[in-house]
Symmetry: C2
Subunit: 220 residues, 2 copies
DNA sequence: AAATATTTTTAGACTACTCTAAAAATAGTA
DNA sequence: TACTATTTTTAGAGTAGTCTAAAAATATTT
């Protein structure tokens, strides 16, 4: 239906829209799809022709409902594949993204649905990002930043803000994986680093850089 | 490393080489990759440049060792994915091919190896075709045509010769799937159709068109 | 508001792959 | 062997996507 390239543009614009809320400018898109501004302009004309987004010269773009659906469907496929790669094949947290980038463009509705069922209809991918449903609905999650927890409070690791390999590898090396519980025992007022209890037993220390990039589900 | 298109050309030429044994001519390739002869000529020059095959004008082509390895690796991926689609996701026999055509081009050695392990290092795909090993070695199978069985002889369905959807759907509808046993009870000398026992209990009748396209492992 | 900096668009060209139509080579036949 | 048919190759052009360099529009600074 749509080419790999088109899907990548739409997905990138969708993410930028969520992040920035407004009309998306050419350079941001060029950055996102790893190309030059001139190429973006060309593609914007093409996607606009196809009614996937509205484009006005020098004013940026905005996805149409149709474009948004394509973007979400691509995101759904990406996150289902990431889940498969991590949960079934045992890929590490940081390795799944690049392969899922390729797999998300495989065309077959039946495949997506069967994969979803095979995985047990997961609601979140290995990074804690919500997996859109078949209808395109994305469930809002009530995850908050670990850095918001106060001394004595407790939460379960449920996602990350920073998706870089470097950060994910760091987390994996320190056993800070999805599902682990964290109880804050002390917050330094100097550098905002925290001391905490991992899974109620192991004492750990986390820099602010780390805690402000981890999402947790707060336990009362 | 190599583009989807290049891999498809190499895979097609490899299959033709096995089938025909000799130098492969332009039209046969054009047929196999669904394009025109002129396009094939262009591509042969390109693949020849890259030392993936040897090409002499008007004389046809032959894969080099390098080209053969790429073809076999692609075939390996194709058949592993077919196995995944059938065994894990529950796709029917005839539906797996088209999706595997796409999946075989995903680039990641780690993915192939992990998938192989996940599937339990299968030796044959859902059509009974052998899956090349990591080293590129393809185990010869001792399957023979069902049509070669004589009255009273018995075998286990292990593969197909004809891979068309129509034939595969026909087999599936008649429960003639991999692993089922067949005992020949009668062979008509008129139309070469056979009467047989499916799994030792159900009486069935099969046309010659069917029996000459089924591969079985003969039981003594 | 003018000058400067930045962003975006246009123009023209390149790569990978494709095609049609015509020319060249090979194969088959009388 | 000469004629015809078939196959293959060349030539020229198209599509999707990309790029650089220059022009045009917008934003920022003074």
């Amino acid at each position: 239906m749509y080419s790999t390239t088109e899907e990548n543009y739409l997905k990138t614009i969708y993410k930028l829209q969520i992040q920035l809320g407004t009309f998306i400018n050419t350079n941001a898109i060029a950055d996102g799809v790893n190309t030059k501004a001139a190429s973006v302009t060309d593609m914007m004309k093409k996607l606009s022709e196809k009614k996937l987004l509205s484009y006005e010269k020098y004013k940026g773009v905005k996805l149409t409902e149709k474009g948004k659906m394509v973007a979400i469907e691509t995101l759904r496929k990406h996150r289902l594949w990431e889940t498969f790669l991590h949960n079934q094949l045992g890929f590490t947290w940081d390795a799944v993204h690049d392969i899922a980038e390729q797999l998300e463009h495989i065309q077959s509705n039946e495949l997506v649905e069967k994969l979803d069922a095979f995985l047990g209809f997961p609601t979140h991918d290995p990074h804690g990002d919500p997996i859109p449903g078949r209808n395109g609905v994305i469930k809002e999650s009530d995850f908050i930043l670990l850095s918001l927890l106060k001394k004595g409070e407790k939460g379960v690791i449920s996602g990350v803000v920073n998706h870089s390999s470097l950060f994910l590898q760091h987390l994996e090396k320190n056993k800070l994986t999805l599902g682990k519980s964290i109880t804050i025992t002390e917050v330094s007022s100097f550098d905002l680093s925290v001391k905490a209890l991992l899974d109620g037993k192991e004492k750990i220390q986390l820099s602010n850089e780390v805690v402000k990039n981890i999402l947790i589900k707060k336990l009362i």
